[in-house]
């Protein structure tokens, strides 16, 4: 069971990702709606896996990824974003995220991506 933190400003997306709990592989331990909140919760909950939206108020995904990786270089971050700007997605991966999932996504696609992300 891997601990998972969700970072997304849309509560619909957050609720959708929270359904990962049913998969027996992931346990959602924190849910943040912006980068600043994500940093707080990350330090408290120490999740192994993070799903990260890119466009958020307060602190955007790229800045947040940078800070999370600085705290824990082993954290596995999956960027979940729309494909409007591929360059931003690539930038996020360069900053330390390890995978990208395109919105919209199905539950199966999400579990598959998270499983791939956490395999060595």
């Amino acid at each position: 069971m891997l601990s998972l933190m969700i970072v997304d400003d849309s509560n619909i997306i957050r609720r959708k990702i929270e359904r990962c709990n049913d998969s027996d592989k992931f346990n959602v331990v924190a849910s943040a709606c912006n980068g600043a909140e994500a940093l707080d919760l990350f330090v408290k909950a120490c999740p192994q896996v993070v799903t990260m939206d890119l466009t958020m108020p307060e602190m955007d995904g790229i800045a947040c990824i940078q800070q999370l990786v600085a705290i824990d270089p082993n954290v596995r971050i999956l960027v979940i974003s729309a494909l409007s700007d591929k360059a931003t997605g690539i930038e996020a991966l360069k900053k330390g995220a390890r995978g990208f999932l395109c919105k919209p996504f199905t539950e199966e696609q999400l579990i598959e991506a998270l499983t791939e992300l956490t395999e060595d």
Binding site: L78, A87, C102
Partner: protein, 732 residues
């Protein structure tokens, strides 16, 4: 190759069967194909070493033999000397010096001969040529030993007589008797002894020479074996080199064949974005660039797409070289998944293509060494997809058309088609009129606009959406033309294309309508019950009923709920062309009432009105010559402040001038060309030509328009027009 692999298989099977050879297997697996060569080299060294040791040993023996031969030769000399010394003693007087010297020499010679003979027989120390002690091996050959034995037998008495002589001389006794005895011995035995010693020398020489020839044979055999071994090693090496070269060559050939045949562009890119030395032949065709090997991929891309996109592509490839990133999870970010490129042609000009790049990591010993890039020319696929979408759209619009045609009465359709052709003719006439100045050319746009707007209204009233959309597009084109500062006749070219399309579409509809009419004829006869036939018949004769559909259609599109009540529409018989104009007036007024008059259901609810608005259309005969058209809605009434704002916004009049106008003057504006209070241009409102068309028709027939309105309650248009019957015609 197949042979090689099968041999390998056999070897591994054998060794797995034989457990005892486990150690060997380990060595074998460690050194693999080199084990044979290692054994050969070890053999070579062993052989060389043993030849050398043997050589060393034999050469030692030979040098020992040389000493033996030398000493055997000396024995011959010693036996002669013994005899000679005895004769010297016989001839000299006993007190002379020569006699004394001879005694000493005889003693030494006898001792030396005796000790050397013993050393030859048993092996042991003897005095060498230089008086140094040497060790003689026992003579090994039987022949030698026999000679020695005979010599020893002869020597025994000879030696005793010499010893007795020397004892007598030493004791100072009379030695003549013993000298004579010794001389007798010397005479009889010296030659025999000499012969035996000669035999010994020859025997030793023979042994040495046989040893030397044995050494030669050993050397020859050893060197020959070494050469054979060397040749074997050489051959083995050569064969292995040839085999591995063959395998390499085969692999190279196969790679080349693959790269030449494969239908895609294939190449490798390293971490510095440099393209590898090998790539598929097809890549040159796809990219239209000849020297690709060794080039920088990013630079290559910059010639095809924007620098920014090429930079994004570089970023993406860099991600692929990052081991931490999951290759499977970044496919969506590939910026070159589908790109449109223009490739310069040798013949000049550009070729438009769609390319699809895909990327895959190439691993070497678990590390990402390269990224394999696959390029496909998907132009045909993209074009087919586009064509498919286009044809789907077409068939959808066909179905739409068919549906709308099926929902429309054939007579109305016929009428619409006739009117359409008339409209196109009028537009053609307008286009054909000469116009040399810009205002005159612009004037044409205004006239065409009016025609098209009416056409759109009719199309909308029959729910013929395709016509409506096309008309709307033409209106957009015309609006563009009117907004241009300087226009010429050529600027109308796009418009003529649009008109052509509309005309050909109208022809299609006409054909379809005719077919449908035929079909309808049969179905009416065969399938439709008599009661319904009658209703259908009535409706077909009714040229006005579709106005109700028209109102509902616009209402639905604008999110309004409307109850439409019409009366008196069939009471007055009119000339068909004139009736058409009257209908146009009604269409415009009704459109106006729906879009501007009636409020949205929510707004109506807020003002405590029934959410369903009501529009009344009434045609009434005032006298034999005059009739009255009334369009009344229970909507918001005329919004004079909105009209005022629009007037100011139009910039045609100064604010003071507008302020000085009364409501009546403001009202006149709504019949003004290009004036609308709608916020945005839509199919139903906003162009500001509808009410102008109404005014034009009314003015043409010297009619009268009365508008009465109460803010928030209602608005009523009453138009008085002459009655023109078929007999009179419009011309009258």
């Amino acid at each position: 190759m197949a042979k090689l692999s099968s041999t390998k298989l056999e070897t591994s099977e054998r060794s797995s069967k034989d457990g005892a050879k486990d150690g060997q297997k380990k060595v074998g697996s460690k050194y693999g194909k080199y084990s044979g060569i290692l054994i050969s080299v070890a053999l070579f060294i062993l052989l060389d070493a043993s030849v050398m040791i043997l050589n060393f040993y034999v050469s030692f023996e030979i040098s020992a033999d040389a000493i033996g031969i030398n000493l055997a030769g000396r024995q011959r000399m010693l036996s002669q000397r013994t005899a000679k010394t005895l004769y010297t003693l016989h001839s000299e007087t006993s007190d002379s010096k020569a006699f004394q010297d001879a005694v000493t020499e005889l003693t030494n010679t006898k001792n030396l001969f005796d000790s050397t003979l013993t050393a030859f027989t048993r092996g042991g120390e003897a005095q060498g040529a230089n008086k140094e002690p040497v060790v003689l091996p026992k003579v090994s050959s039987d022949e030698g030993q026999n000679t020695l034995r005979s010599a020893a037998e002869i020597w025994f008495d000879y030696k005793l007589s010499v010893d007795a002589l020397l004892a007598d001389i030493k004791e100072g006794r009379d030695f003549n008797k013993s000298l004579d005895k010794a001389l007798v011995q010397a005479k009889s035995k010296n030659l025999l002894l000499l012969g035996h010693m000669n035999d010994l020398t020859i025997n030793l020489e023979n042994v040495a020479s046989s040893k030397a020839s044995r050494l030669r044979i050993i050397q020859t055999v050893g060197i020959s074996l070494a050469i054979i071994n060397f040749l074997f090693i050489m051959l083995h090496f050569l064969r292995q080199l040839r085999d591995s070269d063959l395998v390499l060559e085969q692999a190279r050939k196969e790679t080349t064949e693959i790269l030449q045949t494969v239908n895609e562009g294939l190449f490798l890119v390293d971490e510095n974005m440099l393209i590898g030395n090998q790539h598929s032949t097809h890549l040159i065709d796809i990219l239209g660039v000849a020297d690709i090997a060794g080039q920088n991929f990013q630079h290559l891309l910059e010639n095809m797409i924007s620098e920014k996109d090429a930079e994004t592509a570089r970023g993406f490839i860099e991600l692929l070289f990052d081991k931490k990133i999951k290759e499977k999870l970044i496919g969506d970010l590939n910026p070159l998944n589908l790109i449109e490129v223009n490739i310069a042609q040798a013949s000049g000009g550009f070729l438009n293509k769609y390319l699809q790049f895909s990327f895959a990591r190439a691993l070497q010993d678990g590390d990402i060494s390269h990224v394999l890039v696959t390029v496909q020319d998907v132009t045909e696929k993209v074009r087919l997809e586009k064509a498919l979408v286009e044809s789907r759209k077409n068939s959808e619009s066909q179905i739409e058309l068919l549906t709308s045609l099926l929902h429309t009465h054939p007579s109305l359709l016929q009428e619409f088609i006739t009117n359409s052709y008339n409209c196109y003719n009028r537009i053609n006439n307008i286009l054909r009129q000469p116009a040399k100045t810009t205002p005159l050319v612009k004037e044409k746009a205004v006239s065409i606009f009016r025609e098209i707007h009416n056409f759109k209204g009719e199309a909308a009233s029959l729910k013929l959406e395709y016509f409506e959309n096309q008309a709307h597009a033409i209106e957009d084109t015309l609006a563009d033309l009117r907004s241009k500062a300087d226009i010429t006749g050529n600027d109308y070219l796009p418009l003529t294309v649009q008109l052509e399309n509309l005309i050909s579409y109208t022809q299609q509809v006409q054909q379809l309508t005719e077919k449908l009419a035929l079909f309808g004829h049969y179905t009416n006869k065969a399938l439709v019950p008599a009661s319904e036939k009658k209703i259908l018949g009535n409706r077909q004769q009714d040229g006005w009923n579709h106005l109700g559909d028209f109102v509902q259609n616009i209402a639905q599109r604008n999110g309004k709920l409307i109850k439409f009540v019409a009366s008196g529409l069939r009471d007055i018989e009119l000339d068909p062309d004139y009736a058409q104009q009257v209908k146009e007036i009604c269409v415009q007024l009704l459109r106006n009432a729906v879009t501007h008059g009636i409020e949205s259901p929510e707004d109506r609810e807020l003002t405590e009105k029934p959410i369903e608005g009501r529009i009344d259309l009434r045609l009434a005969k005032l006298s034999d010559e005059e009739m009255e058209i009334t369009v009344m809605d229970d909507g918001n009434g005329l919004d004079y402040s909105a009209i005022r704002e629009k007037a100011i916004e139009s910039g045609r009049w100064s604010e003071e001038e507008i302020d000085s106008w009364g409501n009546k003057h403001l009202l006149a504006l709504i019949f003004h060309e290009g004036f609308s209070t709608a916020k945005e241009v839509s199919k139903d409102a906003g162009r500001g030509v509808g009410m102008e068309a109404v005014m034009n028709h009314v003015l043409e027939h010297r009619g009268k328009i009365t508008v009465s309105s109460r803010r928030g309650r209602h608005c009523r248009f009453v138009i008085t027009l002459p009655i023109i019957t078929a007999r009179e015609g419009i011309a009258a």
